[in-house]
Symmetry: C2
Subunit: 210 residues, 2 copies
DNA sequence: TAGATTGTTAATCGATTAACAATC
DNA sequence: TAGATTGTTAATCGATTAACAATC
């Protein structure tokens, strides 16, 4: 019987990609210490030490550190980056186009395998090798493409409706770029790419500074 | 002497836009209770109550709640959304284009007043009413446009260089859409729009579910 | 062996939650 | 007045930080 996987704190999850980027610049077979990473990333040493204990399956080596390789594997496992994820994108506007053309998803083992829109002028076209389908055919095509993640790039007003149909089509997780909170069934995972939050952060610090 | 402005916790800042969106749907002159908001937004009642105390300058009214108006004003003040922010955008690729065409910034009182690129074919064009300038002229034009925020939409490899020139040109804050951590002077505010974090969040929950 | 670094246990801190008093 | 709701103070919880032991 497999041990129940422990859910990581949000703060830790947010640090993981940072660690990953840093570690990938190092030699896989070398060793790295928590102190070195803490200094480079401007984080607290004890924090990094603790994080690394959660990340790595193997023990660290006193006076040496941890194998870069182990840390990378540990992070990629926790983030599911070790498995290929197939995604479909809905809404081929400016933003959708940007994402379809983005080369960085490979790094996370995320592959956009199809796009959807209502606009007849776009349907049938191929963008960066990804075909655009009629959103009305979502259910059958989603199944055929075997996609588990839906990326929503439609305007806020349409996002909820799109989400409902994505869920109905059997999607497991939604990556939402529309500026709304989606109200979907609890067993569907939703992650928001929230411009408002990010801007709020900037704006508030600007306000404090004044 | 003005009281030193207290910096809000990150978690609170992230909740503020959520509150704002919800409150804006209500009648400005009506009253709303912390419990009502907590239920609608699926948050803890005590948490919302405490948050509202931090947000509002006025006392709440027992048995009634708080004036919607006061809460909205409080949030907008804390986020600096009550003042107009002028921004320039660097990197008119797919993503830059998407942002230049995005209509939602008005809501936050953010105005993109100019765009920059190196590509001679784009320089001089106007996108959604926003002129594209040669990035080499950044310093003088930034001053002329009186912009305080720089939005970076260039590829990761160029982001650091762009950031340095933005800072040199006198920008106060950077909203970074490139997937890198920028290493700039501490008195320049940086907020990252971090796809990796957002995706990590989704991917980790997908991993847990399996 | 000495020293760097990990591992573990304890202390601190801040955010969240709970409990109860005050008030319209 | 009773009840809903805010205000305030206390308890809890988890994340971070600190201290020290273990080990290569």
């Amino acid at each position: 019987m497999a041990r129940r996987k422990r859910e990581l704190s949000n703060n830790l999850i947010n640090r993981l990609p940072q660690y990953l980027t840093y570690l990938k610049e190092l030699d896989k077979d070398s060793y790295v210490s928590a102190l070195e990473v803490a200094n480079s990333l401007n984080l607290n040493f004890e924090l990094v030490k603790k994080d690394f204990q959660k990340i790595s399956s193997k023990r660290g080596v006193p006076n040496k550190g941890r194998k870069v390789d182990d840390l990378i594997n540990g992070i990629e496992k926790l983030l599911g980056f070790d498995e290929n994820h197939r995604a479909i994108l809905v809404g081929v506007g400016h933003l959708g186009n940007a994402l379809l053309n983005y080369q960085g998803f490979k790094q996370y083992n995320l592959e956009i395998v199809g796009a959807f829109d209502y606009n007849k002028e776009i349907i049938g076209k191929t963008i960066n090798g990804i075909k655009v389908y009629d959103f009305d055919d979502i259910s059958s095509i989603r199944r055929k493409l075997n996609a588990t993640i839906g990326i929503i790039c439609v305007p806020a007003s349409e996002a909820e409706g799109v989400a409902i149909r994505l869920v109905a089509s059997g999607i497991e997780a939604i990556w939402n770029f529309a500026p709304v909170r989606l109200d979907v069934n609890d067993d569907v995972i939703v992650s928001n790419m929230d411009m408002a939050q990010s801007l709020a952060n900037l704006a508030h610090r600007l306000y404090i500074k004044k």
